[in-house]
Amino acid sequence: MSADEVRQAGLELGRNDLLTHEQAGSAIFGFWVFLMSDAVIFALLFATYGVMLPATVGGPTPADEYKLVPTLIETVLLLTSSFTFGLASVAMKHGASRRQLLGWLGVTLILGIGFLGMELHDFMIMFSDGAVPSRSGYLSSFFALVPLHGLHVFFGSVWIVVMMVQVLTFGLDARVKVNLQRLGLFWHFLDVVWIAIFSVVYLQGMIQ
């Protein structure tokens, strides 16, 4: 098995850590497949949202409820967090100091929590306007899709904390490295989903 052989899509450990690189083959591939089935769930919720968009039944409409500035800031926070996670991955791959790795993970975590806080704040405002899921089919579909992404970010944040503890406990053993690679895929996946939410839900809603 040569170091240059491509074992999986995404960041490769390659010649930096041959042993883990080989182990990562099925572990990372399996996680890609998991993300694929998770993506199916999001795709179906997007489709449901699209179908139910007209069903406002006299209640709040997308144009009433969506605000450009907060969602734009949320987008910037999340995209930046993806970039900082990328820096964490690079730090892991090239054996930079543990402090550097933990630092970038910490920054990612803070950005993720910032995103969650702002999103919750948005939801609170919607709730105070009477835009609650029980009001209409449209709001039901909104509150199934967007908070599910938020829930994913929440789980991702918990996962970051777990991985930081593991880096401190075990150092960078093979399992930590593989799980950091998986977490990276997960975090970038959330970015992709958010870009779809921002374009399909928020931007489209504000145009109407």
Binding site: P133, S134, T169
Partner: protein, 694 residues
């Protein structure tokens, strides 16, 4: 109950939730049947627990089975679960047939609400807790052996999937004892299953049982697909894989893509019921058509999740018991792949009558008929495999032949139903019920039973009793035709499905015939259990320790029966589609390797059973609105997952010496066994060594 601590603890539980209390208060036949079923569950559980305690086997079961991550043991546990659930759901089917036979212009002995629970549990169990565990178990056991691997890609995840499925099945069983089950059918269509019409716990039992099962199956699909892509032994190119592995791969791909729609459908229905969302309600913009689409976006691929592995079994069985290589291997692979893709393009045919435009129906009708083409290719391939072969009519082969005849018949009625105008006439009648039983009994059950008979000697080291196998086979086939052919007639005459009482006297004779058929099917299952009993009793005479009772072709036959924990002492290297068949003819497949090495395997783990128990508890809490239990369960599951990620000592090593001892015991037995010709394979002379002819 007043406000206070009790409602917070017990949720919406009350004494009338217990079927025994209901039967005491209203002692009619229907309630007594319900209480009887509840009692059977409780007494059965107590008896099993007492037996295990008496034999002192708890520790053994826990450390050797429940916490095991060995794909072989997990596979066997899946199949045990499938047989338990099959027994319950089959009895429910018999009860429904008895009810309809006695309910012509009379109320019969089962109340309408109870009857609705019967058809809902029957369907739910047969699909999710009989068929899925059976095929998952079979793939789990066989596939890693066939690809020359020591385990699946994610052994602990495999155990988690098993215990999630078991938890879901336990939830369905619990509904017999506490509360009642859904009356909304196995497909659970809203708005009937919304709070407005089904306020009780039944629908919630259905939602959480199906959700747990579908999450388990998604994880299984991921696990199998990665195993097949990444863990094949050296030289096992894709086009050298046994056909069963191909069907396992396609089924896994279907699971990965088709289970999420089910999860979404049940989750959205749960949001409607628990948090007052409006996805499928009649008011405030809900639209039940979304549910129909989501459910059948899962439901149709599900049919092929069920049927493809059976196609794989038949391919192995027909080839082995004809002593010929599979005819048209490439075309069978292509046909399997085509079915996999087409299965995503036909879901609307489950609701032709629900209001979409005629041209949409036409497109889906044509796509539906198109699936008949690759399926036809397969039937011809199996027939050509038998042609001029040395066919032996063993039990698995008999099931394969019965499948081919019966499945084609069901396919024809499927083509009929694929015409939207004709479907308008036959929809929601017993014609449809007859059709899908005609597909799934041969296309799933016969396949699973063929596989069970075929690989049982590999798993346990002795053959199943042939005589009782034939009796059981006869009952399965005759019972099927008697039970379901009348339903075509009844359906074509307009009898609606899911009817508790019948008001047309001319239906009576057909219902009697169907009732007799159902009793025969119950006899078929009983014969299977008798067969198992007889086979275990006579196991000494039927041992096939050498491992190759049927002159097999694939790698799974090249090791001892039962296989050692590590499967292969040395990972095999293959250079053809029939490595063991060719190996036997080229050189000695029982020659010891040059050297043995230490083998590292995953260590047992409590993660799977822990997550299963907690998931069952959380789901039970959700059903009964015992929020504390649901929250504790969910948090504890997260804690278990995180704790597991901290585990480091997760492997154990079998020393080269031990491997050598185990292998030598087997090789000595193989050397001492007498090779037998095919005429003797059903006799005690068969010790698992095949006489090799050119």
């Amino acid at each position: 109950m007043t406000d206070g601590i009790l409602p917070a603890v017990l949720g919406r539980f009350e004494w009338q939730s217990l079927p025994f209390v209901r039967a005491w208060e209203h002692p009619n036949a229907s309630e007594i049947v319900g209480a009887g079923a509840g009692a059977v569950v409780i007494i059965g559980a107590i008896l099993v627990a007492a037996l295990i305690t008496r034999l002192g086997k708890w520790r053994y079961l826990w450390s050797e089975w429940f916490t095991s991550v060995d794909h072989k043991k997990i596979g066997i546990m899946y199949i045990v679960l499938a047989f338990v659930m099959l027994s319950r759901a089959l009895i429910e089917g018999v009860l429904m047939r008895m009810q309809q036979a006695t309910a012509v212009n009379s109320p019969g002995f089962i109340a309408p609400d109870h009857f609705a629970q019967l058809f809902s549990t029957h369907g739910t169990i047969m699909i999710f807790f009989m068929a899925m565990p059976f095929l998952t178990g079979l793939i789990n056991y066989v596939m890693p052996l066939q690809i020359g691997s020591r385990d699946v890609a994610f052994p602990v995840l495999n155990s988690v999937s098993l215990w999630l499925t078991a938890a879901a099945a336990a939830l369905v069983m619990a509904s017999l004892v506490v509360g009642r089950f859904s009356t909304g059918g196995w497909s659970g269509y809203p708005p009937y299953t919304e709070l407005a019409f089904s306020p009780g716990v039944g629908t919630d039992y259905w939602i959480w049982a199906v959700t747990l099962g579908s999450v388990g199956s998604t994880l299984t699909g991921i696990n199998f697909a990665v195993t097949i892509y990444k863990m094949r032994c050296a030289g096992m190119r894709l086009m050298r894989m046994p056909l069963f592995v191909w069907t396992a791969l396609c089924t896994s791909i279907l699971m990965i893509f088709a289970m999420p729609p089910l999860t979404v459908a049940t989750a959205l229905l749960a949001l409607d019921r628990y948090l007052d969302f409006h996805f499928f309600t009649n008011d405030l913009g809900g639209n039940m058509m979304n549910y129909a689409n989501l459910f059948w976006l899962f439901g149709h691929p599900e049919v092929y999740i069920l049927i493809l592995p059976a196609f794989g079994v038949f391919s192995e069985v027909v080839s082995t018991f004809s002593s010929k290589q599979l005819y048209g291997y490439t075309s069978l692979v292509i046909a399997t792949a085509v079915i996999t893709v087409l299965s995503f393009t036909v879901w609307v045919h489950h609701f032709f009558t629900m209001g979409q435009a005629a041209d949409i129906n036409a497109a889906f009708g044509i796509a539906t008929m198109a699936i008949g083409v690759p399926t036809g290719v397969k039937i011809y391939d199996w027939i050509w495999t038998m042609f001029l072969g040395r066919v032996r009519f063993t039990v698995p082969m008999l099931f394969s032949l019965a499948f081919m005849m019966t499945f084609v018949l069901g396919g024809f009625t499927g083509i009929l139903l694929a015409f939207p105008p004709l479907d308008y006439l036959a929809h929601n009648t017993l014609f449809l019920v007859a059709h899908f039983h005609n597909m799934l009994i041969p296309g799933l059950l016969y396949g699973m039973l063929a596989g069970y008979h075929y690989w049982f000697p590999k798993a346990f080291g002795f053959r199943l009793d042939e005589k009782w196998g034939r009796i059981s086979f006869g009952c399965w086939v005759l019972g099927f035709y008697l039970a379901f052919m009348p339903l075509y007639v009844l359906g074509a005459s307009g009898m609606a499905r899911r009817t508790q009482a019948v008001f047309e006297p001319s239906f009576r004779p057909w219902l009697y015939v169907a009732g007799i058929g159902a009793l025969l099917l119950a006899g078929a299952l009983a014969s299977l259990f008798v067969q198992l009993w007889v086979s275990v009793r006579d196991r000494k005479a039927n041992r096939v320790f050498a491992g190759d009772p049927w002159d097999g072709r694939g790698l799974e036959w090249s090791i001892s029966a039962p296989p050692p924990e590590y499967n292969f002492a040395v990972l095999p290297q293959v250079n053809s589609r029939h490595p063991f068949h060719d190996g036997k003819r080229q050189d000695d497949p029982y020659a010891p390797p040059r050297a043995y090495e230490d083998i590292t395997l995953p260590r047992n783990s409590m993660t799977g059973p822990a997550i299963g128990i907690l998931a069952a508890a959380a789901a039970f809490g959700l059903v009964w609105h015992m929020w504390w239990l649901a929250i504790i369960g969910a948090l504890a599951i997260s804690a278990v997952v995180i704790a597991r990620s901290f585990a480091r000592d997760v492997e154990h090593t079998i020393s080269a010496d031990e491997v050598q001892r185990t292998e030598q015991r087997w090789l000595r037995a193989a050397a001492n066994a007498a090779p037998i010709p095919r005429e003797l394979e059903m006799t005690s002379a068969n010790q698992g060594l095949a006489e090799v002819s050119a």
